[in-house]
Symmetry: D2
Subunit: 138 residues, 4 copies
């Protein structure tokens, strides 16, 4: 398992008239933590796109357990549990202090710069393999 943690402070612009962090913004928070995760194993998403590989989203699921509010300091944790194949799956947990407020999952394809599906790039798989461990090595 690979993990990264991103600290995010809720912006005023991200609140809604219910007084909560609007549920839309968790999607961008997850994305930000995904970018941080990729830094962790030395393949920044920026460099992946520069090499002609994009990771469009196939699906996303979010469970909102507790609301967050303006100025809250959140910890967004992103997890990669298994080797990327045709798809890559990531998990997310949002904490405010010790309280898990939100969790989610996203699934992504790999796409070249012509918009065609492609295999996960070697640089990504090789960076990830030693960190994921034996679970995928069967």
């Amino acid at each position: 398992m690979i993990q990264a943690t991103t600290n995010i402070r809720v912006r005023y612009a991200e609140t809604d008239q219910m007084g909560f962090l609007h549920h839309q913004h968790y999607v961008a928070y997850f994305e930000q933590s995904r970018v941080d995760l990729m830094d962790t194993f030395g393949v920044p998403y920026r460099s992946l796109e520069a090499a002609g590989c994009f990771m469009p989203v196939l699906s996303i699921q979010i469970e909102y357990l507790h609301p967050n509010r303006f100025d809250d300091r959140l910890e967004v944790r992103c997890f990669l549990d298994s080797l990327p194949r045709a798809r890559i799956e990531l998990r997310y947990e949002v904490f405010r202090g010790d309280l898990m407020t939100t969790k989610g999952v996203s699934s992504h394809a790999f796409m070249d710069n012509q918009g065609r599906p492609m295999r996960p790039p070697k640089m990504l798989v090789e960076a990830v393999r030693p960190l994921i461990g034996s679970r995928d090595e069967v």
Copy 2:
């Protein structure tokens, strides 16, 4: 089943550097179509909040089948299939012409203006009941 259709033209501000409508914005599109659906049966969401009832999101799931792009004219369809109880569940489909590009589901609680859970308001249940039909009447 109750249904509403919302026409949305993708804004430039909603694109990303992949050249796609960023996947975050479907959450707001779904919300907009939910608001339109509630107009359909005569209980505008605005009036619900004015009466002290809020509908915070409990979960959301989105499947991205095909990307959309700047200036695309989309049809967002929102469906209510069953009577609201402690929760209300809504379904969504996004079409570009005849092509379904995206689909999703959201689940919501009912909350009073003190942030406490409440039953679905009578005005909502009674407006919806005759339109949902016999499926829930067993």
Copy 3:
């Protein structure tokens, strides 16, 4: 003078905890009305980019006269008063019914697909010239 009017209904996702349409979103509303204006004279912004010409923003000014709220129906008017030269300047007015709530100005450059400045494309200038009238013809 060339003018276009865009009807926008304020989304819930665009409100903030002050209960207002957050001031950030007027920037996207102006952009949407700019796109509509370009449709008006037959040079959709989409086609301009397809022809390799982009219109990055150089400056923007907004005056917030009255707040708007969730579900408000707004009329965003966009005006082009003079021929594009090295820059193009647009004006905006937002109305809720008869009340002007917001006004603004934006200025844009013309940029080719290598990021270099370019002259306003002929297709744009020629579409606009007959509609702007004598003011610029001295």
Copy 4:
């Protein structure tokens, strides 16, 4: 003069199909740096609203000198040059390394929780006065 600096890393969700940080998001970046500035002198914006005082935006002006891109690390500087009176004016500068990419100004009113204009709260004026210095002491 009072100053605060906010570090922001451009999110993917904030890019547009031009490949730039979309110009709308600087409005939220300025707001975030304004919140940081208020922390600096011990009157967090959160506590101001809790005390029944809001700071709605009256006007905003932004000059876009150089574009920013995904993953850029930006430094947003916010400045308060003079004592708040009926209005408070703030200045902003965005740097990428040594390059100033963007600058702006915003002006705000003070509003109570009934939406009525009010004087700047004492807690704010008194926190700010010793830091602004003699310029306003005539």
